[in-house]
Symmetry: C2
Subunit: 211 residues, 2 copies
DNA sequence: AAATTATCGCACTGATCGTTGCGTTAGTGG
DNA sequence: CCACTAACGCAACGATCAGTGCGATAATTT
C-alpha cells in the first residue's frame, strides 16, 4: 500500500491531492468502464499533474486498491441494537445500501478485476465487522452462528447479487436475508451448537431482481 | 458479441486464429494481472498480427467478454442422476471444480471488472442449468427449492468464495453445501411449498479456507 | 522565524498503443 | 478448376502513455 497520507507528511496539500484523486477515480469509474481508468485521465479529472499520480501510486491497479481500501473502510459502522438479529439486520442492510450505490458498485467490480489481492480490499472490513457482531452476541451469552456460515449465507448472496445482477439487492432484501438465515430451527441438540439456519419456504425471499 | 466464427466464414484459418487468441488470453490472464491484457500482448502471444485482433474484437473488454462467454459455456453439463440431491451435488461440484482452476478464476475476475455487462458472461449458462435441474425435479413430481433461493444459497456462497477468497471452494465443499441447503426440514405446511433449507449447525461446513 | 525536506508542477523523451490503407492469402461457391 | 471475397499480414502514422530531471512550493522541525 502507498498510504502516503499517514506515513510522513499528512499536510494539507497532500491530503487535498489525495482526496481529489480518490474522488476522480470514483467519478471516472461511475462514468466509463474500468479500462478507461488511466493515470492521465484521473489526473486531469482531479486537476493534478499526472506525474504526481505516477509517483504516489505508480499504477492504476495500486491506485484502485488504495481507493477501494479507503472507500470500504469506515463507511459502515457496527451497530449495537442489543440483539443478534437486530445487529445483523441493521448491519447487512447498511452494507446492502452501500452496495446499492452504482458508483460504489462500479468501484468494487473494478477492484475485483485488478490488483494482486483481487477484491479483498472490498471485504476486509466486512469480515471483521461480522465477526465482531457474532462475538458480541456470544459475549451476551446467546447462540450465534458460525462465522463461516454467516459469511457464506449472508455476504455470499448479497455480494453475488451485487456483482452478477443488474439490479443489486436492496436493504430490505438484506434484512429479510438475515431473518431467513436466523429463522431456521436449531436442529442441534447441544446448546453449544450455534443458531442460524434457513427455511426458504416460509419467508418471502423475492428480492428486487436477479438478472 | 463478435462471434465471427459462425457468421460467414468458419473456415480453418479463422477458427485457428480465434482459438489461438482465446488461448493467449487465458494464458496471459493466468500469468499477469488483468491490466496487462493489451491487444498487442495478446496478439504476440497468439502468434497473430495485432491488426487482426483489433479488427475482430476491437477492445480488450470485448475480447474478454468473448473469451468468457466461450469458456463458461458448455464446459459443465447438466447431470441426470435421478434425484434432485444427486443432480445438484454433481452439478455444483463440477462448477466448483471448474472455478478451482486458477486460470478460470483469473478469467472470471477479469471479466467482472471489464465490459458493460460485467461478469454476466460467466454465469449466464449457470442459471439456465440450475433452472433446468429444478424444473426436472418438478417434472418428476418432487419438491424443488425456488430458483431464487437456489441461486442465493448455492451460487452465492460458491462464487463469493471464488472471488474473494484466496483459496476457492473445493468440489467436496460444494457438495456439502448442497446437502446443507437441502437438509433443512420442510417447515412448510402445504406440499406445494418447495423443499430446500439450511441447518448449518449439524453439517460440517468448513471449507478449505476463507481468506 | 529560518532551515529542512517532502511533495508537487513543469518540460522533455522514449515507448507503446490504436488506427488506417493496401497487398496477399486462403476459404467458398459456381 | 476458376472467380470471388472474406480474413489476415504488413507498413506507416498520429496519439497517448509511462518515466525522468529539475525547479518551485509548502509543511515540518529547530
Amino acid at each position: 500500500m502507498v498510504d502516503a497520507q499517514a506515513q510522513v507528511r499528512p499536510g494539507g496539500r497532500s491530503a487535498k491531492v489525495r482526496a481529489a484523486v480518490h474522488h476522480a477515480v470514483a467519478q471516472l469509474l461511475a462514468e466509463e468502464p474500468a479500462e478507461a481508468l488511466t493515470i492521465p485521465a484521473v489526473a486531469a479529472r482531479a486537476g493534478v499533474h499526472p506525474t504526481t499520480v505516477y509517483r504516489r501510486w505508480g499504477s492504476p491497479a495500486q491506485l484502485l486498491g488504495d481507493v477501494a481500501t479507503s472507500r470500504f473502510s469506515g463507511d459502515v459502522v457496527v451497530p449495537d441494537t442489543g440483539t443478534l438479529t437486530g445487529d445483523l439486520e441493521r448491519w447487512l442492510g447498511d452494507v446492502a445500501t452501500d452496495l446499492a450505490d452504482p458508483d460504489t458498485l462500479a468501484l468494487m467490480r473494478a477492484a475485483i478485476g485488478s490488483g494482486p489481492d483481487g477484491g479483498c480490499a472490498c471485504i476486509g472490513d466486512r469480515h471483521e465487522q461480522l465477526s465482531a457482531i457474532i462475538e458480541r452476541e456470544r459475549s451476551r451469552g446467546g447462540r450465534a452462528p458460525e462465522m463461516e456460515n454467516a459469511v457464506d449465507f449472508l455476504l455470499g448472496p448479497l455480494y453475488y447479487r451485487a456483482i452478477f445482477s443488474a439490479q443489486p439487492a436492496s436493504s430490505d432484501w438484506a434484512r429479510e436475508l438475515v431473518a431467513t438465515f436466523l429463522a431456521a430451527p436449531a436442529t442441534a441438540s447441544a446448546g453449544e451448537q450455534p443458531a442460524g439456519g434457513l427455511r426458504p419456504s416460509t419467508v418471502e425471499l423475492q428480492g428486487p431482481a436477479s438478472g
